[in-house]
């Protein structure tokens, strides 16, 4: 998807649409998981929509992102297909990874989405590598890494940033500070008040922005992208945000209260942005509700279709290991199976 001009009404509506799509998708995913429909874990992005959408809307279509275990929002903001995402959550063949990745590994390298990631902190070095490709080939591409406040305590995050800073790579590092790493508060994991202080050590620009304000995130990333594309190196952005749901579905959340959550919900990013647009006359309340209903119906339909879709054939478990043909995989598989692997 092409970068979105937040100055135009079309752009504003598209930003609203993507935030609503994330909310609807993850709400549905949460329900399905609670109903025992989905295998594995799901980590919901509800509450953090302004960060993913604000940041990615400021990028160009050809740009790369790396993501986290909480990646659905990044995928949707990057323009990925919600049916194929749902199918992946179900472990169906129609999914982005043919059912081999699941919620934590959705990827579409052709679309510049280099993968959600089950390893906290693994994304930044990968983004540094994508930025290296762009610099090496002289392409107008930027790589943006999303990672959580918890991930900032991981060594490889700093190695990735240091390398990108040293080589002036076209990278942008965006910390989604949702105030918790699983059940441990940000204050108990870091000794600084603002994670953007990290930037100082690498002599790159660092900002903390309001991650509940899609416009603020957009503007910060727009500037960072420009700097990156001009050969001026990476920027470190901390977006102050909050997750409304538990770390994973079923988390009993002893680490916070309903009141804490409500304080943030009062500043809900979708509500705030919508109200701003209504005031400016860019959309009406009715149009907004219509858009939301339409999106919810579409997600509902995608979930139903995904549920009805086919599982991969068991034999596909042995595929996709290598580009090259490696006969031992099939040989071993065939010998282990009573039917000799024939189907």
């Amino acid at each position: 998807m092409v970068s979105i001009d937040i100055e135009t009404e079309d752009g504003q509506r598209e930003i609203l649409r993507r935030m609503l799509t994330i909310r609807a998708f993850d709400t549905k995913a949460g329900e399905l998981f609670a109903d025992g429909e989905l295998p594995g874990f799901v980590h919901l992005y509800i509450g953090e929509e302004a960060v993913g959408v604000g940041a990615i809307s400021a990028l160009e279509e050809q740009d790369y992102i790396t993501s986290t275990h909480r990646g659905h929002g990044h995928c949707i903001a990057k323009g990925l297909d919600t049916y194929k995402m749902m199918a992946e959550l179900y472990g169906k063949r129609d999914g982005y990874c043919n059912g081999k990745g699941g919620s934590m590994h959705i990827a579409d390298v052709d679309a510049g989405m280099l993968g959600a990631n089950g390893i906290v902190g693994a994304g930044p070095p990968l983004a540094t590598g994508a930025a290296l490709t762009a610099q090496y080939k002289g392409e107008d591409k930027v790589a943006l890494a999303f990672f959580g406040d918890g991930a900032v305590a991981q060594g490889q995050v700093h190695e990735g940033i240091n390398l990108a800073a040293t080589w002036d790579l076209p990278a942008v590092f965006v910390v989604e500070n949702n105030h918790f790493g699983e059940a441990t508060a940000m204050e108990d994991q870091h000794n600084v008040e603002h994670l953007s202080a990290t930037a100082e050590a690498y002599d790159i620009p660092g900002f903390t922005v309001d991650g509940m304000d899609v416009t603020a995130v957009y503007e910060a990333v727009k500037e960072a992208r420009e700097r990156a594309a001009n050969g001026e190196g990476p920027t470190f952005i901390e977006a102050d945000t909050y997750r409304y749901e538990g770390h994973f579905e079923g988390d009993h959340q002893p680490y916070r209260t309903e009141e804490d959550i409500d304080l943030w919900k009062d500043r809900d990013a979708i509500e705030t942005f919508k109200n701003r647009l209504v005031e400016a006359g860019a959309v009406t309340q009715d149009e907004f509700e219509e858009m939301r209903d339409e999106i919810e119906a579409e997600i509902e339909d995608h979930a139903e279709r995904a549920k009805a879709a086919d599982y991969p054939d068991p034999s596909e478990a042995y595929e996709d290991m290598f580009n090259a043909n490696v006969p031992e995989i099939n040989d071993f598989a065939a010998r282990m199976r009573a039917d000799g692997g024939e189907r």
Binding site: A107, A122, A127, L132, T133, Y136, G160, N162, L163, M321
Partner: protein
């Protein structure tokens, strides 16, 4: 899988060179052949690599293509994975394989798994070159022989050349491969000389072993330094015992056919590899041969390697730990 190219036959133009020069020639040729290929690692540029493998490459190709990195194995290995997924072909040097502990996350969970987890929709043309082995008095943290760990890991190809021609052919194939390949170079053999095809077309298919010397009484399947030592031993024993020496070369995939064919002829097998014996490379060779070639065997299979210890510092102790030709000879004596 043919072993013709594996031994360099069919390429008449050869030159004598060291393993180090052979690897450098492979890097040079691939850097020349493909603009997407570049080399990175600690001190690989002007310094030429701490063990001198990259040498003067930076002079010819410049700092963009032969790039010094900060001392951050996780950072640059991870960057190589991201770079490979987006259309370049990085060749990473990890100074000593022991340091792969530091970047194992990127190898284990990203490089090895991305293609599979993404449903086959991305390629991963990363080559990692690293050094292994004792013999330099470098003590435990610079002498490990850890290739078994990575050969064991699904999603990675692992090679370990024993000769100069293998070093060149495997390095070129690794760089051309769209799959991740780790090359384990034994630092004790960098100075070993051998005949190497100088043709740019010369490559060794990944997953082939090379029969370096034919024999009838016993097969020695060796890797890295043990290949040369076994060849010398075979020469010494000639007339007394006829020893067939195979350079395994490719740890994964493994050329089981060549091993089975040899054992069918000799009926006896010794596996010599400089890694700890338990759960090792040896075990994989033994398992494959007995699964399919059990009835060819006339004697129990023998293993030669490192006892399950670390490599000590003192020359007196290190010498005790490392496997040598006399250990292979003792193993042969037990079965012939």
């Amino acid at each position: 899988m043919s072993t013709d190219t594996a031994s360099g036959e069919g390429f008449s133009d050869t030159e004598t060179m060291t393993v180090r020069e052979a690897i450098r020639q492979a890097l040079r040729e691939e850097l020349e052949r493909d603009e997407d290929v570049y080399v990175m690692g600690e001190d690989v540029g002007t310094f030429g690599g701490v063990l001198g493998v990259t040498g003067d490459l930076v002079e010819q190709f410049g700092e963009t293509r032969v790039r010094d990195t900060p001392i951050s194995e996780a950072g640059f290995t991870g960057a190589a994975v991201g770079a490979a997924a987006t259309g370049t072909r990085p060749v990473v040097e990890i100074m000593f394989s022991d340091f792969m502990g530091v970047c194992s996350e990127q190898i284990l969970n990203q490089m090895a798994k991305n293609r599979y987890m993404f449903g086959g929709k991305t390629e991963m043309p990363v080559t990692i070159r690293t050094t292994e082995g004792g013999g330099m008095g470098a003590a435990s943290q610079h002498s490990g022989t850890i290739h078994t760990w990575f050969a064991h890991l699904p999603g990675i190809m692992a090679v370990a050349p024993g000769t100069a021609h293998a070093a060149k052919g495997l390095t070129k194939s690794a760089i051309r491969s769209d799959d991740p390949v780790i090359i384990f170079e034994n630092k004790q053999i960098y100075e070993n000389e051998g005949e190497v095809p100088v043709s740019e077309e010369y490559t060794i298919p990944l997953g082939t072993a090379s029969v370096e010397r034919e024999g009838d009484d016993v097969t020695v399947v060796a890797t890295q330094r043990m290949v040369g030592e076994s060849l010398d031993l075979a020469e010494e024993l000639a007339g007394e015992t006829s020893v067939e020496v195979i350079d395994l070369m490719s740890l994964y995939p493994m050329d089981t056919d060549t091993l089975l064919k040899s054992v069918e002829k000799t009926g006896r097998l010794v596996v010599a590899d400089e890694s700890p014996l338990s759960y090792g490379t040896h075990a994989e060779v033994v398992a494959r041969v007995q699964e399919e070639g059990f009835f060819s065997l006339d004697a129990p299979i023998q293993r030669v390697g490192v006892a399950d210890t670390h490599i000590p510092f003192s020359p007196a102790l290190e010498e005790e730990i490392l496997p040598h030709a006399e250990d292979v000879r003792a193993a042969i004596d037990r079965v012939v």
